[in-house]
Symmetry: C2
Subunit: 208 residues, 2 copies
């Protein structure tokens, strides 16, 4: 399997590294980190950099095109050169996937038209701007070859489902156990319903 | 809050980036990426590099010392220079934490002696070698100022608990909602009990 993870400046690191950690465990597979220009990508908030080894233009085709999110997507929704590359690679891919606001880039590229899709809870209604049907309250949405995940940490769930679909459930379970992905969040605050309106209001305000 | 995340060659990326994603959301805080020598660190299996901005020796003290795991820990258990730096920074820290086999480095540094601790399920019995009491079936173990997490993805749970302890529950819930950490793994295979002996045997064999 040939996976292309699309990097860009000001991406949210866990959006990319969550699914990466699962997908690199697939046998006979290559996961490559690509961007418009190779190099070190800044990430949201902190000092971590993520390196893109090659340009999207250098990739003839891929099986899985995966786009993470982050504050950087805002400017890129109008970056026609990037959107054209996403369309070109999506056309030949078996799976086109996003995590968090990566869905807004898929949408801006026209790849969500007529599809059910999701993204980070604070942005999910924006999917309608791109002709998609926003799906609330579903962590991973598959519509044909298009897979979209909710915010940040949801990319891990997406990747495990993808491995089961592309290979088989047994491999997905091996990957899950290898990552000891038996999550036990200390609070029930990972959804707006669980966190409540006060917490949700604070987080939404901070997102700007 | 001053957090030092210790990087080294051949670390498991999600071990570091999971807690990083949560901890960088703490207000008035600095999360720094440090290693014996600054530079790009290789990671297990794939092409991703993680950058260390500074040397451990350049850090006078820190509040939170966090050590991720990965295949690279095997060689480092006998790296006296690194273990001495871990001991030095741990001595002044409010919290000493590990994810996955990062616990084996804390153990080799003598920091787990007499403590209850955990690590990746496949290595948890090794903690006894370092005078620790291995805790099975608990995802995050706190014993005084020492916090240890189970494998790879457990660092996210640890970090949220840590934010609640260092700040308050409301901030931890805001961070959890910001990351939309409402995990829904597609399979019940994140623990040996859930995955069963066949899957566990396959994963253990692959770990070598």
């Amino acid at each position: 399997m040939h996976v292309t993870l699309v990097l860009f400046p000001q991406l949210t690191p866990l959006d990319a590294v969550g699914p990466y950690e699962a997908l690199i465990r697939m046998p006979q597979s290559v996961v490559e980190l690509a961007a418009m220009q190779p190099g070190s990508m800044t990430t949201s908030r902190g000092p971590l950099l993520l390196n893109a080894d090659r340009s999207l233009a250098s990739i003839a085709s891929t099986d899985v095109l995966l786009v993470p999110g982050g504050p950087g997507t805002r400017a890129l929704e109008r970056d026609e050169a990037l959107l054209a590359e996403l369309r070109r690679l999506a056309a030949g891919a078996r799976v086109v996937a996003s995590v968090c606001t990566g869905a807004l880039l898929l949408g801006a590229a026209g790849l969500l038209r007529g599809r059910r899709a999701t993204t980070h809870w604070a942005f999910v209604d924006r999917l309608a701007e791109f002709g998609a049907t926003p799906v609330h309250d579903q962590r991973v949405v598959q519509d044909g070859e298009v897979w979209t995940a909710a915010g940040v940490s949801a990319g891990i769930d997406l990747a495990l489902g993808l491995i089961a679909a592309l290979f088989d459930e047994e491999l997905a379970k091996c990957v899950q156990l290898g990552m000891e992905y038996d999550p036990q969040p200390p609070f029930d605050a990972g959804s707006v319903a669980g966190a409540g309106p006060l917490i949700a209001g604070r987080v939404r305000a901070a997102l700007g």
